[in-house]
Amino acid sequence: MRTATEAGLVLCRSCGTLSDVAEGRCTVCGATLRRPDRRGLQAVWAYWLAGILAYIPGNILPIMLTQSVSGVSESTILGGVVTLLHHGSYGIAAVIFIASIGVPVSKFMVIAWLALSIQKGWSVNNHQRHRAHQAIEFIGRWSMIDVFVVAALAALIQVGGLMSIAPGIGVNAFAMSVVLTMFSAMSLDPRLIWDRPSQESRITDEH
């Protein structure tokens, strides 16, 4: 077995067309052709770091301000989960906790593990890394739930001085963090997971 790259070809990640490596753009769909290249991991790390930097204020700062006759109360993501637990909405609390904390934190860890294992050439099961990559690409966007909760409440709950809900600054940082980590996961070229790094393994493969 050999790869398209080894055969002097390049695969278009948009339409699946095989072209000669000399081509810069795909003749079929016009997308830029990129060979699997570990330098691409620089972009993964850049988005990853920016995503973490945005995730911190997203969790510390309030995401929602509730104004009622008794005054203004601020709530953070974790604070919202705690409130839901107090009201006995365990299922909804679990959804928010998983989407806003469980998914982003595990995504940061999985991306770092994938990128490091590729860079350092760790011997890890490729199928396992492949499944992990597919999983984070699939679930990453669901972290947006809490942003939409705030948007829906802020738009609907507007009854003058009686009660109104406004988004806190934290929700912008949180939304930014979700977008950046989605970019990070998308920049990770899955072909690098299966790349054979050393010359020795290439020789044994051909026998």
Partner: protein
């Protein structure tokens, strides 16, 4: 130019490479309904979905119809102490905007209104014209490429979960009712998901490659 295209066509008629692991394989001949997996990483290398073009066209057309209902009709209403407020999805975005919540208004507007519409229209137009010889293949390829690229960013499905969570959150504070647009939006996410799974990218890209 012609020579270069002929080379690419010949190459792609004989070989297929795995999108996940780059392994190069002789191109399998698939019957409708069959798909081929990469022996190395087990990803689907090539699929030939049954009636992909027709089913996608129908489902994306249905999506467009319910999308129009979803933005034109009231989405939710709330009532508390005699004061009530009824909003559509477009109202939601404009209320956020006019109350100085610009970033959230733009984020929401793009992710739940513009991106889903763009995706539905692009995939619909492409599938409606691709098997007739209307328009240029390059334009079709552009539609499909953007339609594919936008897929993870069309977040109407996630928005609906967010709405359900917010209903639970304020259910004790105010009386909240859902309007026809809520059900239309629910139908939209079902039709869009079905349309996405009915789409056979390989078949369409093949058609476009052959028409180069």
């Amino acid at each position: 130019m012609t020579n270069r295209r002929a080379t690419i066509q010949a190459l792609n008629e004989r070989y297929v490479a795995c999108q996940s692991c780059d392994a190069l394989w002789p191109r399998p001949q698939l019957e409708p309904g069959q798909r081929a997996r990469c022996p190395r990483c087990h990803s689907v290398v090539l699929a030939n979905k049954t009636r992909g073009v027709e089913r996608t066209t129908a489902l994306m057309l249905a999506s467009l119809v319910v999308y129009i209902v979803a933005i034109a009709f009231p989405f939710m209403s709330m009532e508390r102490a005699g004061l009530s407020n009824e909003i559509s999805v477009i109202d939601a975005v404009t209320i956020l905007w006019s109350n100085g919540m610009g970033v959230l208004a733009i984020t929401t507007g793009l992710l739940i209104l513009l991106f889903p519409l763009t995706r539905v229209v692009m995939i619909l137009v492409l599938h409606a014209v691709v098997h007739r010889r209307l328009g240029k293949p390059a334009h079709h390829a552009f539609l499909l490429r953007i339609g594919q690229m936008i897929e993870p960013w069309a977040m109407a499905d996630i928005f609906m979960i967010g709405v359900i969570v917010s209903l639970v959150k304020v259910g004790s504070l105010a009386r909240i009712e859902v309007g026809p647009a809520f059900w239309a939006m629910s139908a939209l996410i079902v039709f869009m998901a079905m349309g996405t799974s009915a789409t056979c990218r390989d078949t369409v890209w093949d058609m476009l490659r052959q028409r180069l």
